[in-house]
């Protein structure tokens, strides 16, 4: 069993498990933090951005003013943003049999893997994961394609050049593996390879292993995966939550008794309490609106936004925000809001029971109905005419590098009465804001990350007791900025096996048994005998059939009756088949009982002689010796087959065949 680690990002994993002749990719996360090195893509021409000075090295030897721009002391690449892909050189991606997706955040690299690599396998995901994952991809493509950038900067990637650049550009690795966004055709083609699965559905892969998604409690349709055969069990834990938000609660007990547990997707904000952050979010929002300012919430178009809207639904009236317009702007805003209402099966119990009434499970339906929440595909069109201030705008992308959020940054950034509230934990807010500096707008950082924290995960691991844990190396040491916090790391016995990008781990597990099926006919012919109390044995002689990784044992076919022919006599003289049964014997032949048996079968003249290791029996009439010892019996006789076989069978009565 081997694990190939293709991504170093702990919450956007991409690992490949080789297990019993199957090659299984676990998640397909796309590391988007690379876009922070790029200049934002404005929706309308931004004089500020276009006037930024180009970068030239201090001694003037390197001139990249066309590709790199300087803003507030930092250098940005002026090009279409690029993403850091999972490693593609570590193993041949065309050999991957299946890809298991755990949640919609962890599938964004799918088109890069399934297209143009020779991939011919199947992708498994739940229905909400596929639906919302598709929305995320469509949104990304839309964000990129509506503001096409002619230039694609590559000179800065040159090794010699990169060395001379200021940080952080100088230190980024694998820049040649960075790629621009995919096209909608590639998205459609990639997603056409997805096969839908439900929680606890057992999917057989080539008869060798069974995979099964479990509810992970993190987002709509999010799952952990069990990969098991009859004798081995690997659990793959990715983005899970024990908090009560909208998704179905996490299924913990099914993770029990794993041989190996691969742990990824813990919270990125181990010190921030989601509930506290939600409170801070509301109070900052209300404060800004009361002061006549606007609130900008950069967010993904599904996930935490449902919880934010639900929280606001309860908060609006008590905070007197009944007349404040809330806008949700995204090319997929409408779809996201609509789809959230139809996945009752994947929701927590409370929301499920609403559907039985029948009422929509999320209260944002009512916010829309009462016109408190309005959604638009973009800032163009209807929005521009209906837009009223002060207001609250939810829009993407949380990196602030593309999407409608760029427009609002340019629009509101200059005024200190406005506030930007960061809720998504994926990007450092300081890095996100860097190309907008200097900025007058107020910034509030309340990241809401509902994924497991270290305290919860150690409790969980204590409960489910995996033999071995594999995790990203980041989890085996405290965060760099808080090196004294030994509670912000995994401490386990035996210690977890850490991995990083490009690691290849040999997972410590030896398979010892395999499942085989004994067909009824053979099973009925077996004769078990009790050898110890509670332990029975039966010798099995059978023909093995192995097909599609399933093994069955059948009775040995009886040889066809020999046709009576002239050759018959010869046939009798044929030597026996080379590979005759190799039955072992066990036990001992007790002297007294054996003598009695001999007597009964007409061997009356027996002389017994004691030796160092046992006895020698001399059958005088037959001139035959039988040497009886603790672990052996030796019959010495003249060539008298009937006699020999009789004696043999008498001895065998006392022995156990194996």
């Amino acid at each position: 069993m081997k694990l190939y680690c293709l991504s170093g990002h702990p919450t956007l994993p991409c690992n490949v498990l080789k297990f019993k002749s199957t090659t299984i990719m676990l998640d397909c996360g796309l590391d988007t933090t690379s876009v922070l090195n790029f200049l934002p893509l404005p929706l309308v021409h931004s004089p500020r951005l276009s006037k930024l000075p180009g970068w030239v090295s201090k001694d003037g030897s390197a001139n990249l003013e066309k590709e790199l721009k300087e803003c507030a002391g930092r250098v940005f690449v002026d090009s279409q943003p690029e993403f850091c892909l999972p490693e593609r050189e570590l193993l041949d991606l065309s050999t991957i049999d299946v890809i298991l997706i755990s949640n919609y955040h962890c599938m964004m690299a799918l088109p890069y893997i399934t297209e143009h690599t020779g991939f011919t396998g199947t992708v498994y995901a739940t229905e909400p994961t596929l639906t919302i994952g598709r929305l995320f991809m469509e949104e990304l493509v839309n964000f990129m394609e509506r503001v096409p950038k002619a230039q694609s900067a590559t000179c800065w990637k040159n090794k010699e050049m990169q060395r001379m650049l200021p940080g952080p550009l100088k230190d980024v690795v694998d820049v040649w593996a960075w790629k621009r966004s995919y096209s909608i055709q590639e998205v459609n083609s990639a997603l056409s390879k997805v096969q839908l699965v439900g929680y606890s559905q057992k999917v057989e892969l080539f008869g060798a292993v069974q995979v099964s998604p479990l509810s992970s409690g993190y987002s709509l349709g999010s799952s952990n995966w069990i990969i098991q055969s009859h004798h081995e069990k690997v659990s793959y834990v990715s983005g899970s939550s024990l908090l009560t938000t909208h998704p179905q609660p996490m299924d913990q007990s099914s993770l029990k008794n794993s041989d190996v547990l691969i742990l990824t997707g813990l919270t990125q904000m181990p010190t921030a309490n989601p509930d506290g952050m939600l409170g801070e979010f509301c109070s900052n929002l209300a404060m800004t609106i009361r002061a006549g300012g606007n609130v900008l919430v950069p967010c993904y178009s599904s996930g935490v936004i449902y919880d934010l809207l639900e929280c606001l639904y309860q908060f609006i009236d008590s905070a007197n925000l009944g007349t404040t317009p809330f806008y949700f702007i995204s090319p997929v805003a409408n779809s996201s809001l609509e789809f959230s209402q139809i996945f009752a099966e994947w929701l927590c119990h409370n929301k499920q029971s609403k559907v039985y009434l029948p009422e929509p499970p999320f209260p944002h339906a009512e916010l829309i109905q009462t016109n408190k929440l309005k959604h638009y595909p973009s800032i163009h069109g209807d929005f521009s005419s209906e837009f009223r201030q002060p207001c609250v705008v939810f829009t993407g992308h949380p990196s602030l590098r593309f999407g409608d959020v760029v427009h609002f940054m340019e629009l509101w950034g200059k005024s200190s009465i406005n506030t930007i509230i960061f809720t998504e934990p994926d990007f450092s807010y300081l890095d996100a804001l860097a190309p907008y500096q200097p900025l007058a707008m107020k910034c509030v950082y309340c990241p809401i990350d509902t994924r497991l924290n270290f305290h919860q995960v150690s409790k969980l691991l204590k409960e489910v007791q995996p033999l071995h844990v594999v995790c990203p190396e980041q989890y085996t040491q405290p965060p760099l900025t808080q090196s004294h916090r030994s509670d912000l790391m995994l401490e386990l016995q035996p210690p977890p096996m850490p991995y990083r990008r490009c690691s290849v781990l040999n997972l410590p597990h030896r398979r010892r048994y395999e499942r085989v099926y004994i067909l009824p006919e053979l099973a009925n012919s077996l004769v078990p005998s009790e050898i110890k109390p509670g332990v029975s044995l039966a010798t099995v002689s059978a023909v093995l059939h192995s097909k599609d990784n399933k093994h069955t044992l059948q009775s040995v076919p009886k040889p066809p009756p020999v046709a009576p022919s002239k050759k018959r006599k010869r046939v009798l003289e044929e030597p026996p088949a080379v590979l005759a049964p190799k039955t072992l014997l066990s036990g001992a032949v007790p002297l007294e009982a054996f003598l009695a048996t001999l007597q009964k079968h007409g061997f009356t003249e027996v002389k017994v002689e004691e030796t160092a290791d046992g006895h020698i029996l001399h059958l005088q009439a037959e001139d035959t010796l039988i040497q009886l010892e603790e672990d052996g019996t030796h019959i010495v006789c003249d060539n008298n087959e009937p006699l020999r076989t009789t004696l043999r069978d008498l001895v065998l009565r006392f022995l156990q065949k194996l």
């Binding site: 606890s200 139809i342 029948p358 004994i518 009824p520 059939h545 097909k547 080379v578 001992a588 003249d638």
Partner: protein, 601 residues
């Protein structure tokens, strides 16, 4: 020999009050718990006393599974769980769980409030019953207990309808409930994988029907409605509130839009709006097309279809009314029917199956004079049309499902005996498998022959596969040998050597030594080499060696030659072999006894 027993308490050679008991691997499961539309007395519910004479059913049943929300499949549920007594789990899909209590309440109201029956289940009982329901998701494997697992498949038919696979060890049963093998305007087609159940329990409502294409039927339906409207007639379409109603609404809605028709379409019960709401929230259970487009346009928001008020029935001019219930046995559809029956211009279209005893059944059989309660008779002058829109599989569809699942036995329920007989013949002929059709209270027993799962040591398996290849060669069957260790309910198959080691047993060597007398004048050494040459020529394919210490070795059998000093011509061959070489040893001793071939002297 293990067996599976199936006993219908209802729906055995009948349509109505579906309730089937299955006994498999020591588990007892009740499939559906329905009521009969054709009866108003005790026969309305399945006879639960079959299970036990005295009291509660909890200890006799491991679980109850409801396939869909139609009352002939769930109508007796509160009676069974609350009045007879059952506290175990009841499984149904989410939409069924949502809609079933509403229909039950409706049923209760009609029976108790309108007909004034007592000794019937109450609203509270329906609620208490629903608390015992565990929702099922499609394809999810639900572990009822350590041994019993169930899995739901999409069945079409109505929103949330499911087929279920019941599995204990390697034995399994699939129960189809009601299903539809052709996708329609709002639902998809039933689907199941090749799960090879021991028994497939299939409905057989349309066992003898092979329906023409759906498109033709729809065109026919629209044509008839249109003609009737054109000549100013009123069209009554009796339906059940959920199911076909939505299908036909979508059909008429699109037709009205396309033809720009103005005649009003009404839907009779207050349930409708609520019903359509369920369809919107459970849109994942509808067909591909509706699911894909629902964000832009929700098919269950009708523009032309409005709520009906009782007074509208007397309005002049043409109209189309969907009214419940579907078999004209009570309620609003019957009231409207009575009002409109006397005019030739009007028309009633029966879009579904009607059970015996209902007015729907009578008029479909051509009865033109109906006796009503209170001795009055009703003359039926309006046009009566039957158009099978009920979403059941037809004969072709049933055969198709059998082909999909590849069962070892088929068992038919939910159909009429005569029609079943016909289908049974067809199934047995085409698939060469047994087909059963027990009547109510009759038990069908199916022998199963499960394989025994065993853990084989990987060493043994790999050794065997390396030697023999994955598939046995029919000409040279390879026999594998091992020892099966049975201990604490575990079965392990290991090599004999490992079995000795694992169990801490000593090996007992059994050896044989045989003396064979031979007359040969040559010296010992020469005799030995003649024995060697002889054996070499006879035993092709065996390893025969002449060892330097004066021994011939055949495989692991040792042969030595000695001569007595008194008689040098008489030689004694000593053969020594272990029990494991018994066959070869025995063969050699008899071979050598015959002496050495003369030709070699």
């Amino acid at each position: 020999m293990p067996e599976i027993k199936v006993t219908p308490l209802g729906a055995g050679q009948d349509v109505g009050r579906s309730c089937i008991l299955v006994s498999i691997g020591g588990k007892n499961i009740m499939l559906d718990c329905g009521m009969h539309m054709g009866y108003n007395d005790d026969r309305r519910f399945p006879d639960f006393s079959y299970i036990t004479q005295n009291g509660r059913l909890t200890e006799f049943l491991d679980c109850v599974i409801i396939s869909h929300f139609h009352l002939d499949h769930c109508g007796a549920l509160p009676f069974m769980s609350e009045m007879v007594g059952y506290d175990g789990p009841i499984y149904m899909t989410h939409p069924t769980k949502a809609i079933c209590p509403i229909l039950l309440e409706d049923f209760r109201k009609i029976t108790v409030d309108k007909k004034g029956e007592t000794n019937f289940f109450t609203s509270q009982m329906i609620k208490d019953c629903m608390k015992k329901v565990v929702p099922l998701n499609l394809h999810q494997t639900v572990q009822v207990d350590d041994e019993l697992e169930i899995k739901a498949y999409y069945a079409g038919h109505v929103l949330g309808a499911a087929m279920v696979q019941i599995k204990v060890g390697s034995e399994s049963v699939v129960y189809t409930g009601d299903y539809n093998m052709t996708p329609d305007r709002h639902l998809g087609a039933a689907w199941i994988d090749k799960c090879r159940p021991d028994v497939l329990i299939s409905e057989s409502t349309y066992a003898t029907t092979i329906r023409d294409s759906k498109r033709c039927r729809e065109r026919d339906f629209l044509k008839k409605v249109h003609e009737s409207i054109e000549r100013g007639g009123k069209v009554l379409i009796p339906v059940f509130a959920l199911g076909r109603a939505q299908e036909l609404c979508i059909l008429l809605e699109t037709f009205w839009e396309r033809m720009n028709l103005k005649a009003p379409i009404y839907f009779s019960t207050g349930l409708t709006e609520k019903a359509n709401h369920y369809y919107k929230l459970f849109i994942t259970w509808t067909n591909q097309k509706i699911r894909k487009t629902f964000v832009q346009r929700n098919m269950f928001e009708f523009k032309h279809i409005k709520a009906f008020d009782r007074s509208y029935a007397d309005n002049p001019g043409p109209m189309v009314v969907f009214a419940t219930p579907g078999m004209l046995h009570a309620g609003q559809s019957l009231q409207i029917f009575k009002k409109w029956a006397g005019h030739e211009k009007n028309m009633v279209i029966m879009p579904g199956y009607c059970v015996q005893g209902t007015i729907g059944h009578k008029i479909l059989n051509g009865q033109r004079k109906l006796e009503l309660e209170g001795r009055s008779t009703l003359e039926v002058k309006l046009q009566v049309e039957y158009m099978s829109f009920s979403a059941h599989a037809d004969a072709k569809g049933i055969m198709q499902l059998i082909r999909m699942a590849e069962p070892r036995n088929v068992l038919l329920v939910h159909g009429e005996a005569v029609k079943m007989e016909f289908l049974k013949g067809k199934i047995e002929q085409e698939f060469s498998i047994d087909c059963h059709m027990p009547a109510n209270g009759e038990t069908a027993t199916v022998q199963t022959n499960p394989s025994v799962p065993v853990d084989i040591s990987l060493n043994l398996l790999k050794r065997e596969m390396a030697l023999g290849g994955p598939l046995p060669d029919p000409k040279r069957p390879r026999t594998m040998h091992g020892t099966l260790i049975m201990k604490d309910n575990s079965l392990k198959l290991v090599s004999s050597e490992q079995a000795l080691k694992d169990l801490g047993l000593n090996e007992h060597q059994l050896r044989f030594t045989c003396r064979v007398q031979l007359q040969d004048q040559s010296p010992e050494q020469e005799t030995l080499s003649r024995v060697y040459t002889h054996l070499r020529s006879v035993l092709k394919g065996f390893s025969v060696q002449l060892l330097p210490d004066g021994t011939v070795m055949v495989e692991s059998i040792l042969i030595k030659v000695s001569s007595s000093p008194e008689d040098p011509d008489s030689k004694t061959l000593l053969l020594s072999w272990s029990y494991q070489d018994e066959d070869l040893g025995s063969f050699l001793s008899s071979l050598l006894k015959k002496g050495l071939p003369a030709a070699l002297c």
